[in-house]
Symmetry: C2
Subunit: 347 residues, 2 copies
């Protein structure tokens, strides 16, 4: 199979991104939702930032505070034995976990799909109690004149998925929490199927279950039910630790083609593909036996959180797709593929 | 406040319940949903059973197997260091947790609300992959001629909430998984509010969030969205560990009165009350400062899992309610209360 990672990857790096405020530094630009508008490719970037910290004895966490309607900075002393600092992404006590970075969403645009102009200001920024620890991993579909965006919001309440809509990527309207915690990787199908909307989702359960891929249906995009688990972990394969939807599925004659992410138990994230039945999308017809894209280049193997390739969107152009993906939770890369090549490689 | 626990509590004990098959023993009858039908009070009992085990060196777990469409018994050697047997309710490895008992739902009927006739056969029994570890904690509402039952189903997929309906408590139709894992304590309001159905629910999150009470809305009882957290843990009170809805809310002039459960960090479960706004039920107007019902009697303090009172339903009769509750995850008790007494006691 011909997999052409773009020669000049990563196409967007943190040095190109202006922080949202002068006392913050950008630590990641990754996991972008994709859309086309006015002959341009739009990426809705996830940008993670943290307060600039010159004091090595402590770790800072920026959190949205609804009382002040602004971010506040919490300070944790590294010598405080009540907290664990082992994972650089989190600060954790038995009672509560905090994130060491806070994400927002920002727009970037390109004519050719490789060279992007990144806006200076956030498009969607934490602004309610469900978003206190940041908003992450947008996926975009278009229905009539509206773009609908799902994204994961983290807070003291857990991880919910919200829905927002926009016509122009300038003005956004939030439509509430559409999946209860914990649930992320929510990807709505671009078309109704049998009169209903469908979405892939990834609940995280507290004890009995595993982080696997589910589907739900909705009459109105806001209310979701009919939850079914459709894809489980596979022992010994690239998705034996966790898996979830990635890009918005594309319709092919053979079925819905979904580019998803799978991770091993030791957190190596790869992209895989699966084919879902056109009329009964809860039926998985085929699935990648081996990763479609795996971390192999330096920018994919090391960074804020290394050994990660993770996609929230692709752009289809005839028989070809450009898959945009986050590399090492730090930068954005792109890979060009032929749809038939992917389909022919499924088991 | 006048709280009259019925003198002859518990009103239903395991000795009165016939096991669903001869090689099983009943270990609990508790957490019953409530309804009235043909001038009778109907309890939909949660009955937990386990395979009779004479071998003290092992622990057994009954699990529904979809390939055989029947229960199978799994055997765990107590000396197997891959598993923990510390909590008598579960068998746990790092990879997977199993339950030492499996629950089904069964009908009991009474004319006077105290003396119940219990059916010999299950009403709802595990029959699909989401119910592999059992079905639990039913709540019942009536809309027109249909009784709608929410219940929690446990399996390798986590804990989902399903919806079923019946007209006669003999024939039941399952309507699918209405809340994704993990979610339990789903209680639908008996009336629509502003044209929408509402339900209280209790997601369990994997890392950031806490086991707290949420609300969701639905156009059709099957699809749910608009998730909001409405009641949080309260440090130092009876609900500082977890809380969730209990009985179906009843409408009063002051608001929706909800009898809920709160547990301390060391798993003492009490009943509390809260008052929700009639038109905007996501607004908590008042809440019990102290438990309404707490474990004090022997049958509430010791049993399969002691120090637990837990309600799934009540029966209103004019100004009074009978709250049915599970005691120590083993038997069913009832307490009579005056609604005004509860309302006057809220803060």
């Amino acid at each position: 199979m011909s997999i052409i990672k773009y020669q000049k990857n990563p196409i967007i790096s943190i040095s190109q991104v202006k922080p949202s405020r002068p006392d913050f530094e950008v630590v990641g630009v990754f996991n972008a939702g994709t859309a086309t508008m006015n002959d341009e490719i739009v990426l809705l970037l996830r940008i993670s930032e943290r307060p600039i910290n010159t004091d090595k004895t402590c770790v800072l966490a920026a959190v949205y505070d609804k009382n002040t309607d602004d971010l506040i900075t919490m300070k944790f002393d590294k010598s405080d034995e009540n907290y664990s600092f082992d994972d650089s992404r989190i600060i954790s006590s038995g009672e509560q976990t905090y994130l060491t970075s806070i994400s927002h969403l920002r727009v970037a645009k390109s004519k050719n799909g490789y060279d992007f102009e990144i806006e200076d200001k956030p498009a969607l920024f934490p602004q309610n109690e469900y978003e206190a620890f940041g908003i992450e991993d947008p996926r975009i579909i278009k229905i009539d004149d509206d773009y609908y965006i799902t994204f994961a919001s983290s807070s003291y309440c857990g991880v919910v998925t919200e829905l927002a809509k926009t016509k122009d990527f300038k003005h956004f309207e939030r439509l509430g929490n559409i999946f209860a915690p914990d649930n992320k990787d929510v990807v709505i199908f671009p078309d109704k199927i049998g009169g209903m909307h469908y979405a892939l989702h990834r609940p995280s359960t507290s004890a009995l279950g595993k982080p696997e891929m589910w589907i739900a249906s909705s009459p109105d995009l806001v209310s979701w039910g009919g939850h079914k688990r459709i894809a489980a972990l596979r022992d010994g394969k690239f998705d034996d630790g966790r898996l979830g939807a990635g890009a918005v599925p594309i319709k092919t004659e053979e079925g819905w083609l979904e580019i998803y992410h799978g991770a091993t138990k030791d957190n190596c994230y790869c992209l895989g593909a699966m084919l879902l039945d056109l009329e009964e999308p809860w039926k998985v017809l085929k699935r990648s036996d081996e990763p479609l894209v795996e971390p192999s280049e330096t920018y994919e193997k090391s960074g804020f959180f290394g050994n990660v390739v993770f996609s929230c969107g692709l752009i289809q152009s005839g028989d070809f797709i450009k898959i945009y993906y986050g590399a090492s939770d730090e930068s954005i890369a792109v890979v060009d593929m032929k749809i038939d090549d992917i389909l022919n490689n499924l088991k």
